[in-house]
């Protein structure tokens, strides 16, 4: 398995890892294929992601993918974050080995699930008001 320097660097020094206290949104995704599980936490202020954190159970590629994803999310609007694709993540890691190309899908789904969690909460709030 040949990982890029960028992947190894994120794996050894993951950014924004750990549980977030009182997040505005949480998204979870897993891969049935290899048993990876990723949780993405977001703090959102004025429609902008002010903080993103992650927890991942998975291989080196899964951890690096989550780490780089939280970096990509920082400062993005919800609409921009919705546009984040697997290929953006792969690019940010200088590529992934062919066997690991399912990892970015897990991260992307976790992000989408966090964002829809956020939107659902706010839609509810809107109705109540």
């Amino acid at each position: 398995m040949n990982y890029s320097q960028k992947v190894l660097e994120h794996f050894v020094n993951p950014r924004n890892s750990g549980e977030m206290e009182n997040p505005d949104a949480v998204g979870v995704s897993g891969s049935e294929k290899c048993g990876d599980i990723t949780r993405i936490y977001l703090n959102i202020k004025n429609n902008i992601i002010s903080e993103a954190k992650f927890q991942t159970f998975g291989c080196c590629a899964a951890i690096a993918t989550s780490s780089v994803t939280t970096e990509l999310l920082q400062g993005k609007t919800i609409e921009q974050a919705m546009q984040l694709t697997e290929s953006d993540i792969v690019q940010a890691l200088d590529g992934l080995p062919p066997d690991k190309m399912h990892c970015p899908a897990v991260a992307e789904q976790a992000v989408k699930s966090a964002l829809s969690d956020y939107q659902a909460k706010h839609a509810k709030k809107g109705k109540l008001l």
Binding site: F11, S17, G18, G35, R39, C59
Partner: protein
């Protein structure tokens, strides 16, 4: 900062020893002749092969005519099973018995034969990784051709009751094959005393090079050829002999079998302390029986972390080990051995196998016991599945 290094993946492969290398070297250059040629350098090769065959036979309690050289453990397993069932198919023996936790060289051979009309029984194994001989007896049918059960499991190191299984097979006139790839140098093998009809060995697991193996086939047992061609190996396995490899595996086997007692005496206390030490980490379990296991195998599952990640972190600290995790093996399925002993997929993904060599020492032990908990903690800190040992 990496301060020390330990290669702890001896069940994957071992380095060629100096003694073995020196014995082999002449056969690459000055004594390069083809053993089938009748001039001097050919005959010299023939003599070297003859010597090696006799030496290996002696190491295993066999007759030289019962020793065949192959390209390794996988070929030996393929040949034993495919060759035996092919030779017996005219007697309408179309049933094979094996176990759920064999090496893939046996399992995938059996699956291939299933696709060609044979029936295969995959016996379950107990939660501590043992095959029950009574299960073998119950599974034998009138059309059973062969039983194949490994001597020592390659992942969890459990030592199987081979001799009893062989006895049962013989009472029922069924052939008994065993994959002994992980047994050599760890436990005594005597094919006659242990009721073994066919036995597979791989050189690179005990300091011979990769690409050389042995299949022992008891006198009087006819198996069909797997590789057809010239008349080498008493007409049973074609191909110009790998003289250097043959000389190498002979030397390596001789050294391995003469050090079994010493190796066990030296490594068993290290193995036990390593198990005790690693089980101090919260949320860990030992895979495979604690007593009925080879002296150099430790296999644990560590809750909340994934094996490949741990292997890579350990490598960065100079420790080479392996895992039953799907990702570490380049497939997506977790270890069939660990699922066979009843582990959930998650625990199978979280396993760490350490298999150490003859020179393993106190410094290595202390280093592993320091580094593994550190790496585990690092990974657990970012894992959504680790709740500090609370369910």
């Amino acid at each position: 900062m990496q301060t020390h290094s330990v290669y702890a993946d001896y069940s994957a492969t071992t380095p060629v020893s100096q003694e073995v290398l020196q014995a082999m070297l002449p056969y690459f250059t000055e004594s390069f002749g083809n053993a089938s040629s009748i001039y001097q350098i050919g005959r010299k090769n023939e003599a070297a092969i003859l010597n090696a065959r006799a030496n290996i036979a002696q190491c295993l309690g066999a007759d030289p005519k019962e020793i065949y050289f192959t390209s390794g453990g996988s070929e030996s397993d393929n040949w034993a099973i495919k060759g035996a069932v092919d030779a017996l198919k005219m007697q309408r023996k179309r049933h094979i018995i094996t176990t759920a936790f064999e090496h893939h060289a046996v399992l995938n051979t059996c699956q291939f034969l299933e696709n060609h009309g044979f029936e295969v029984t995959y016996l379950p194994v107990s939660s501590n990784g043992m095959v029950n001989p009574q299960d073998v007896e119950k599974a034998i049918r009138s059309d059973t051709a062969i039983v194949s059960v490994m001597c020592v499991n390659n992942e969890i190191g459990t030592i199987q009751p081979i001799s009893q299984i062989g006895e049962i097979c013989h009472e029922h006139s069924v052939l008994f094959h065993t994959d002994a790839v992980q047994a050599i140098g760890n436990i005594e093998i005597d094919v006659k005393q242990q009721n073994i009809d066919m036995l597979s060995i791989s050189g690179h697991k005990f300091h011979a090079p990769k690409g050389i193996g042995v299949l022992y086939v008891r006198n009087g047992i006819n198996i069909s050829n797997l590789i057809h061609g010239g008349g080498q190996e008493m007409g049973k396995r074609a191909g110009t002999e790998n003289t250097a490899g043959i000389v190498g595996i002979s030397k390596a086997l001789e050294i391995a079998v003469s050090h079994i007692a010493e190796k066990n005496e030296r490594l068993t206390p290290f193995r036990n302390r390593l198990i005790e030490g690693l089980l101090q980490i919260k949320g860990t379990r030992l895979n495979g029986d604690r007593i009925q296991r080879v002296c150099n195998n430790v296999n644990i599952s560590i809750e909340g972390i994934e094996g490949e990640s741990l292997i890579l972190l350990l490598d960065m600290q100079g420790i080479q080990a392996s895992s039953g995790s799907a990702c570490s093996a380049g497939s997506l399925e977790p270890s069939h051995v660990l699922t066979a002993i009843g582990l959930e997929r998650e625990s199978a993904h979280s396993s760490l196998r350490l298999t150490f060599g003859e020179n393993f020492n106190e410094t290595d032990l202390q280093y592993i016991l320091k580094v593994v908990p550190e790496c585990v903690e690092k990974l657990r800190n970012i894992s959504p599945l680790w709740k500090g040992g609370q369910k």
